[in-house]
């Protein structure tokens, strides 16, 4: 094969990969503007399903519940993740360190179905013994926070590992008590990691369907659960509309943050170049 042919082969392969990844999404977006009752047949463009979505109180309630759970579980995950990562990073030897370390990473490798099932079994027996907790928002939150804490721990821990430990020593040398070292130096330096841990655990919770199915009770259906159950009964194009709205929001956030970090990076490089020059 000569080089031109190779180049064209490379390009078309790339095109195929992109088509495979993005065509379904484009189809979904296109059909959200379809007037037809059927998701697979195109009639003509309209905003009918967006109107339907606005009036679909079940779906809107599910979205609100999902947002609420995602936000709270991300907060809880980042909070506990921060402290477990800090303990694992800082204290090299304490009773139960090995246990904590493996517990913190188990949910990452354990299938969700197993985690969900074992949580359900535990919660059922606790409820039988104590009469609490009723399955619902709290139990879903518990499951998501458990999974999220594991992810947050990994993210924060990797940042701590690459952080210069001399910075904390310098803070102490300059008169910081241990808690001041944490609040004045460690925490500000961990901010980007905490933010990305928050976004990651938020997303994990927002699109989780397995854990939620095990842990929810009557009247508590998250958005993915509703979509999933409706898909079994035959999809309604208002789901397409909802998906499109989600995609737009996510894209805007991702593009904005990419542009922002690109600009920061360029500014930083310019500053460094300037400093070397002087």
């Amino acid at each position: 094969m000569n080089s031109t042919a190779l180049k064209w082969f490379g390009r078309s392969w790339m095109l195929l990969v992109y088509a495979f990844l993005f065509l379904p999404i484009f189809t979904l977006v296109a059909y959200s503007f379809n007037d037809s009752q059927l998701v697979t047949v195109w009639s003509h463009a309209s905003l009918r399903w967006y109107k339907a979505l606005m009036q679909d109180s079940d779906l809107i309630a599910a979205v609100m519940l999902s947002l609420k759970i995602a936000f709270l579980s991300a907060l809880i995950s980042v909070f506990f993740g921060l402290f477990s990562a800090f303990a694992l990073h800082r204290y090299r030897r304490f009773t139960g360190r090995g246990l904590l370390s493996s517990l913190a990473s188990t949910p990452l490798v354990m299938p969700d179905v197993i985690v969900g099932l074992s949580l359900l079994l535990m919660l059922v027996s606790v409820q039988q013994a104590l009469g609490y907790p009723e399955r619902g928002l709290f139990t879903i939150l518990l499951g998501h926070a458990l999974l999220g804490t594991a992810y947050a721990t990994v993210v924060v821990r990797s940042r701590l590992t690459e952080m210069d430990s001399k910075l904390e020593e310098a803070a102490m040398d300059l008169g910081c008590r241990p808690w001041q070292v944490f609040t004045l130096v460690t925490l500000p330096l961990l901010m980007p990691a905490l933010l990305s841990a928050f976004l990651l655990t938020f997303t994990l919770s927002f699109d989780d369907v397995v854990l939620s199915s095990f842990l929810s009770g009557p009247g508590y259906s998250t958005m993915p659960m509703v979509i999933f159950s409706r898909a079994r009964l035959g999809l309604n194009p208002s789901i397409n509309a909802l998906a499109t709205v989600t995609i737009v929001i996510v894209s805007v956030v991702v593009i904005a943050s990419t542009l922002y970090s690109l600009r920061q990076d360029r500014q930083r490089k310019r500053d460094i170049a300037l400093a070397q020059h002087e």
């Binding site: 020593e169 803070a171 008169g175």
Partner: protein, 371 residues
């Protein structure tokens, strides 16, 4: 010869280290029974290769490590158990450890704020520090917006802002490139002397230690080999290891042949050496005779003196501008390093590879090494 425990200091020294050891895992001695006095106003260098314990000793002074044995006194007060944040000691880190999220002036003000100083006083002090290190126009910058040399000056300003009783420097010039190092050395010493702070610095670079320190200790395997002024250590090394570590040196080995009141005769493979010494050595004991390359002379003609010269063949010569370095291979196979000043070298301008030459030196060039 000076001894660490009998340092000739009249009053209570500013820093007194008494029999300090640091033992890891029950048996690894990182620092082994170190005793040292540092007087107020001194710049003291701890010199040694990596893993010799110099950094561990410095970290014990800063309060990041606790000694396994021994005590540390600062101005007469026992600070052995005092945590780092309560010691009137500040440190300039090797990688500077500037806080990346704070501006230059906030970095310098960091320690002052912890002391609960008044806002105006802090601002005044920060400004004075910036002026001292000539970085006033960079006050608002973040550390990553500065060059390596500028970062180093911010680190220095931050470490002296609190007016510590003792300043610790960990490889102060280690992160700079060679060209910057020489000018920075002098600048750093000037600032330290201007502030008048007592200073303990750690380095693996003997040139750095010699140019900056008023006194230094050569460390190996956790203990001091020799303590003294750079000049004393260079001219009178007390052991083979020290002679080898500080500068380049030629060492002739051999047994003591005859013992006289003012000199010894040492029988080496290539010559019989007459070494001035007031130290009595048993006949037959193996000693080393150290001679610095720059204290040797080269010539084609046989020297008039009967003793203290050897002959050999030039195997290598390198012209450095101010001096020329020759390698002379002796009959025994030993290679001597000889360094000749360019001005004094005019007679030997035509010396070249393969030439037969005589290497000679004066009596005072020789240092007897018994260990």
């Amino acid at each position: 010869m000076e001894n660490a425990s009998k340092s000739p200091l009249a009053n209570e020294p500013l820093l007194r280290i008494e029999g300090v050891s640091k033992i890891y895992d029950g048996h690894i001695k990182a620092v082994d029974q170190v005793t040292l006095n540092v007087a107020s106003g001194e710049i003291f260098a701890l010199l040694g290769g990596s893993g010799c314990g110099k950094s561990t000793l410095l970290r014990m002074l800063a309060g990041f490590e606790t000694p396994s044995q021994g005590r540390i006194y600062l101005g007469g007060t026992d600070i052995t158990e005092l945590p780092a944040y309560q010691r009137p000691i500040n440190m300039m880190f090797q990688s500077y450890a500037l806080f990346p999220h704070l501006s230059v002036s906030d970095n310098i003000a960091f320690g002052l704020r912890r002391d609960g100083m008044a806002k105006e006083a802090i601002a005044e002090r920060v400004e004075a520090m910036l002026k001292l290190v000539q970085l006033s126009q960079y006050a608002k910058r973040k550390p990553h917006q500065l060059s390596g040399g500028q970062q180093q000056r911010v680190a220095l300003a931050r470490s002296i802002a609190k007016q510590p009783k003792l300043l610790l420097l960990d490889e102060p010039l280690g992160a700079l490139d060679k060209k910057l190092r020489v000018s920075t050395q002098i600048e750093l010493v000037n600032i330290i002397e201007e502030v008048g702070v007592t200073c303990v610095l750690v380095t693996h670079d003997q040139e750095e230690a010699m140019t900056m320190a008023t006194r230094m200790a050569v460390m190996s395997a956790g203990s001091f080999l020799q303590v003294g002024s750079p000049k004393a250590i260079y001219q009178q090394p007390n052991s083979r290891q020290v002679a080898d570590f500080i500068g380049s040196v030629n060492i002739f080995d051999g047994p003591v042949k005859e013992n006289h009141t003012h000199y010894l005769l040492v029988q080496c493979a290539d010559a019989l050496l007459r070494v001035p010494s007031i130290q009595a050595c048993h006949d037959g004991i193996a000693v080393g005779v150290a001679i610095r390359p720059e204290k040797m002379a080269l010539s084609r003609k046989k020297p008039t003196a009967k003793i203290n010269h050897v002959s050999g063949v030039i195997t290598e010569m390198t012209y450095f501008g101010a001096h020329t370095s020759y390698h002379v291979k002796l009959a025994s196979g030993k290679v001597l390093q000889v360094q000749v000043q360019s001005q004094a070298d005019e007679d030997n301008a035509d010396l070249s590879w393969g030439d037969q030459v005589y290497v000679s030196w004066g009596d005072s060039a020789m240092v007897l090494l018994t260990q």
